[in-house]
């Protein structure tokens, strides 16, 4: 079956099977491999994308359910060749080790900062509690989100 949706602001159409997940659709049908798939049961958060602006684990979203809706992935963050402040902050603070969890972390953080531009470290930890990282120990990730938040407030 064919599903038509918006991905990173562009109208796209993908040929899917009825039970296919949005994550598989993005990766295999649309070639957007920035969204990572790991547990495929909703537990690790590495497949987090924004669906109509809200973070969801795309391994559990039926692709068919996204018809006519708007999806944002990590590929949509950089604009005009410049990185998003979250991406800049993760690089600047070395908040990335293997990198596998980072697209999901950044998408969840982006949605969180849109709701609350000035979160406390506790709030950042809470908001990222559905995203696992096996490498960094989280400290730098939290610092990077806080730095990005500050950059966005200062230069928003």
């Amino acid at each position: 079956m064919l599903v038509q949706l918006k991905v990173n602001g562009r109208d796209v159409a993908a040929e899917i099977t009825p039970a296919m997940s949005l994550a598989s659709c993005l990766r295999t049908e649309l070639g957007l491999t920035g969204t990572k798939l790991s547990c495929e049961v909703g537990e690790c958060g590495s497949c987090t994308v924004l669906l109509d602006g809200k973070p969801v684990t795309s391994c559990l979203v039926p692709a068919a359910q996204t018809a006519g809706r708007s999806v944002e992935t990590v590929e949509g963050l950089a604009s005009d060749g410049s990185l998003h402040p979250l991406q800049e902050a993760f690089i600047k603070l070395n908040a990335v080790q293997c990198g596998f969890c980072i697209p999901g972390m950044i998408m969840a953080a982006k949605a969180a900062l849109e709701k609350n531009a000035n979160p406390t470290p506790e709030e950042v930890r809470f908001i990222l509690s559905g995203n696992l990282c096996r490498c960094t120990g989280y400290q730098k990730i939290v610092e990077a989100v806080l730095l990005a938040a500050q950059e966005m407030r200062d230069h928003g």
């Binding site: 009825p18 958060g45 973070p55 969801v56 684990t57 391994c59 979203v61 559905g130 995203n131």
Partner: protein, 287 residues
């Protein structure tokens, strides 16, 4: 033999269409947020041939008040419930529970009816709705019926729903005031965990004396249960240490948990008592 494949995904626009789509195909299944069903399909526990997506049916989405009762559409997302002003002010136990249900991502996907229909004895929203005397409205090929939530589950993963029936609305009748209600669980970690034991409590107090009490326990029996012995005992009493001790004992005695990799039956029973006491106090202090 290979498992049957999911070959159809249908998106009805009305409850009537959805019931029809379910009636036509014996292996059809409702899909809402998919957070239980997609996992079940991936793990090979369920093999629907047709998925009936109810998330585009406008009458199933949203929260309204009507003559003192609160009506929550089946396909309303947990995140929407968490942000609803009436829910926040009148039914704090629902907020406690919704915040514990998965992480933010899951709350944006999961629906209230999905949580109830999945019928896990650990389901987060079940206890709070049970102590609010909630009822569910159901539509099927032979019409509509209304079922008290306490009669909805028959065992783990089992409900009284007929194959082509859909839960349409969760109704909180307003007979029990939810103001003094609370919910907590014992778990290992937030966001990606389920309750080892949970308890929901609703009370009404007058000059320190209990006028009405409702206590529910989760994950200690095949379904979420009420502790009616403790509810009756509390009637007319003040929440003294002695009374709380007795409530703790009654809750512990009502629990009939299992041992699994996550916790022993003994631990779960003990925690059922401790939690019921703690959540009762928490609810009472909200006054």
């Amino acid at each position: 033999m290979a498992e049957p494949k999911t070959t159809e995904y249908v998106v009805p626009q009305s409850v009537g269409e959805a019931v029809e789509a379910l009636s036509e195909s014996p292996k059809a299944r409702v899909i809402a947020g998919g957070t239980d069903l997609m996992v079940g399909m991936r793990e090979g526990h369920v093999h629907p041939t047709r998925l009936v997506d109810i998330t585009r049916i406008q009458e199933l989405i949203g929260i309204s008040t009507q003559n003192g009762s609160l009506r929550i559409g089946a396909a309303t997302k947990i995140d929407e419930i968490l942000h609803h002003p009436t829910v926040r002010s009148e039914y704090p136990a629902l907020v406690d529970a919704g915040q514990l249900l998965g992480g933010w991502q899951i709350q944006n996907m999961a629906t209230l009816a999905g949580n109830l229909c999945n019928a896990s004895p650990a389901a987060e929203m079940s206890g709070p709705l049970l102590v609010l005397d909630a009822e569910v409205e159901v539509m099927g090929p032979s019409g509509e019926r209304r079922i008290p939530l306490g009669e909805f589950w028959t065992g783990p993963g089992k409900t009284v729903l007929e194959p082509a029936e859909i839960l349409t609305t969760i109704v909180i009748p307003g007979k029990v005031s939810g103001r003094l209600s609370a919910y907590q669980r014992v778990d290992i970690r937030h966001s990606v965990d389920i309750a080892l034991v949970s308890s929901a409590v609703g009370v009404e107090l007058s000059e320190g004396k209990v006028q009405l009490a409702r206590i529910a326990l989760g994950a200690v029996a095949p379904t979420v249960i009420r502790v009616t012995e403790a509810e009756a005992y509390l009637q007319g009493r003040t929440l003294s240490e002695e009374v709380l001790d007795k409530v703790e004992d009654l809750a512990e005695a009502a629990a009939v948990p299992i041992t699994d990799v996550r916790a022993s039956a003994e631990y779960r029973s003990a925690m059922a008592g401790v939690l019921a006491r703690r959540v009762l106090l928490l609810a009472a202090e909200r006054g």
